[in-house]
Amino acid sequence: HFPRDLKWPNNNITFRILNYTPDLDKSDVDRAIRNALNVWADVTPLTFKKVHRGIADIMISFGSKEHGDYNPFDGPNGLLAHAYPPGQGIGGDTHFDEDELWTKDSSAYNLFIVAAHELGHSLGMSHSSDAGALMYPIYSYSKGYLLSEDDIEGIQALYGPNPNRSKVKPRPDAPNKCDPMLSFDAVTELRGETIIFKDRFYWRLHPQMPEPEQTLIKFTWPVLPNKVDAAYENPEKDRVIIFSGIRMWALNGYNLVEGYPKYIHKLGLPKKIRKVDAAVYIRDTGKTLFFTEEDYWSYDEASGTMDSGYPRSIEENFPGMDDEVDAAAYHDGYLNFFHEHMQYEYSYNSRKVIRILRTNSILNC
């Protein structure tokens, strides 16, 4: 919240759209604003009435550079918008930077998402430090339900819950890297960095960065799904393959490769396999191992075919390991298997587990 927990004294709030961006149809702007207000109305007793003249509680406008409030915008990118907390006069007002390109989709800055964030300020919400919260100050595109637990707790602390609605299921908070029970969804290398997927987020570990960096998957790759099951890098082909359900995507660096998604069955996996739990490329053999439930498969990258004699049992062929794997990585003859909150360092040559660590030890915890 803002200092002194600023809020509107009553629950019936008026808004007025003073001008429109030329980037979108007028009706699209109206819809984006109304939907953004509904995000907050769904979880509070607040109602929003549109007015067409006079002073409204929330005055919405598009402007560029200095636009009348001595808080200038800065041209394209950088600052996207700002809004004032509840109060008289300029209080509650929301300004969008007209120098941005406003869109309905993910191709540029999505007006609905930015409006939902700004209108949070207009209602009394300050910035959240939870990277998954709508009130996090950095823009990221996402589809589906916008509010996190942190957003809902914040707004309901000011106005209470919506008496006419059953409790909505908020987005979970961003995973905490030092949670002792932390598990991973997928781990891969990407041109010397390590990328760890967990829920809607990924951590990026760079040899020159002292701390892992947590980002929403959608922030970097809007077309990827919110949940990644497995990922691996083939450095010879400079490709990272990302798996989610029966589909897979390919990255070249941070860019998506055209022609994807493809079905995982194109790799030669049988149709009964509906997801890959983990994948890892073994540089020394040129093979990629796919882990599915209690079994694993071997894929020959050079010929692009599955090796015969598979699937094999994980438990029998990797002595000392659990029977299932969440994620796997390979470094200098060692396979690191991640399962739930444990990490198993397996020597590929001596064929045994040589160390057991916490999963999040890779995140400096």
Binding site: F2, P3, L6, D69, Y70, N71, N77, G78, L79, L80, A81, H82, A83, Y84, P85, G87, Q88, G89, I90, G91, Y109, V114, H117, E118, H121, S126, H127, S129, A131, P137, I138, Y139, Q208, M209, P210, E211, E213, Q214
Partner: protein
Amino acid sequence: FPLPLPSVNKENWNLAEKYLRRFYGLPAGLQGRQRTSGAFEAKIKEMQHFFKLKVTGNLDDSTLEVMKQARCGVPDIGEYN
């Protein structure tokens, strides 16, 4: 007081200064060499703490990367209170 890292060029330094002035109330103008620099470090630390970066007070790459991302700018609420 901390010196800019070798990798931090003048452009990045200016960007950081502008960012901290706008969002973290870094005082504008010179206020004596030592004091300005102490304020700069304190504001970087505040920003690093909020974004859950490693709190060093230095303008490192991950700090600069966050500063360069598109964001919301909440105006100073003091001006109309």
